[in-house]
């Protein structure tokens, strides 16, 4: 999610779970392909409802006005429910954010009504960062999964956009965090 005001100098941002000593680096949401399936499903259902209405009203013909009103309101209620559920899915897409600071990776996952998760993992504890890009679609569109392994925790992030670039930035930040940690520990 992006604010509307230009914020070039706002790199010390406050977000849920942020430590005062960590500095914000970048963030990302999942690839837009995540919204493709709900969009196609909504489109298909809309076409089915419109075609059903056209068939009932123009082919079969409904003479009784009460029945006509009832059918129309029912069809519209289903149409509205489908569109609102897509809107819900659309909003939820913007509530799943991965935030990277100079010290940690934050996975913030919320839904409108039920989920409010926040998983945090220290960058210097990463033993491995795996990049997964399988299949022609993932390679063509440049997305995939990142699996970050720490000592006792694994953080999996799927549908990562610009995965090559994000992987490189994460690896660089991990090295910087390790160097920083080593210099602190050195007497």
């Amino acid at each position: 999610m992006v604010n509307d005001v230009p914020e070039s100098d706002h790199f010390d941002l406050h977000f849920q779970g942020r430590d005062v000593h960590e500095h914000f680096q970048f963030y990302f949401r999942q690839h837009w392909i995540r919204l493709l399936k709900p969009f196609v499903v909504t489109l298909l259902w809309s076409i089915i409802i419109a075609a059903s209405c056209a068939f009932i009203f123009f082919r079969l013909g409904v003479k009784d006005s009460a029945s006509r009103h009832g059918i129309l309101v029912t069809c519209f209620a289903i149409f509205t429910a489908i569109h609102l559920s897509f809107l819900l899915r659309f909003y939820t897409y913007f509530l799943y954010v991965i935030v990277i600071t100079d010290k940690r990776v934050h996975r913030i996952k919320k839904t409108l009504f039920s989920v409010d998760d926040h998983q945090t993992i220290d960058l210097w504890t990463f033993q491995d960062i795996h990049k997964w890009q399988h299949g022609p679609i993932q390679n063509l569109l440049g997305f995939g999964s990142l699996i970050m392994e720490a000592q006792e925790t694994i953080l999996k992030v799927h549908f990562v956009p610009r995965i090559g670039r994000i992987y490189a930035r994460l690896s660089h930040l991990r090295e910087a965090a390790r160097e920083k940690m080593t210099s602190i520990r050195r007497p």
């Binding site: 999610m1 992006v2 604010n3 509307d4 230009p6 914020e7 070039s8 706002h10 790199f11 941002l13 406050h14 977000f15 849920q16 914000f24 680096q25 970048f26 963030y27 990302f28 949401r29 999942q30 690839h31 837009w32 209405c53 009203f57 006509r68 009103h69 129309l72 309101v73 519209f76 149409f79 509205t80 569109h83 609102l84 809107l87 819900l88 659309f90 909003y91 913007f94 509530l95 954010v97 935030v99 913030i108 919320k110 409108l112 009504f113 409010d116 440049g142 956009p161 610009r162 670039r165 994000i166 930035r169």
Partner: protein
């Protein structure tokens, strides 16, 4: 027919408003500078999403008003 338009209109606007208010409350803590966004889809800001919500409401209202004008 006008009373049906009013009832349906109030229901749709209320539902859209509830969804937007809940979304806005939740997204408040997730606003970051545009230049730090590594996502592919950078078009949507809070203002643009509000516009999407308004357009979506108008779309649903227009669909009901047009279809009921022909078929009521």
């Amino acid at each position: 027919m006008v009373s049906a338009w009013i009832i349906v209109g109030v229901v749709i606007v209320t539902l859209e408003l509830i969804l937007w208010m809940v979304f806005h409350r939740k997204v408040e803590g997730l606003s970051f500078p545009r230049e730090t966004d590594e996502s592919l889809f950078r078009f949507f800001t809070v203002t643009r999403l509000r516009l999407v919500a308004i357009l979506h409401t108008l779309f649903l209202l227009a669909v009901f008003i047009l279809s009921s004008s022909f078929l009521w």
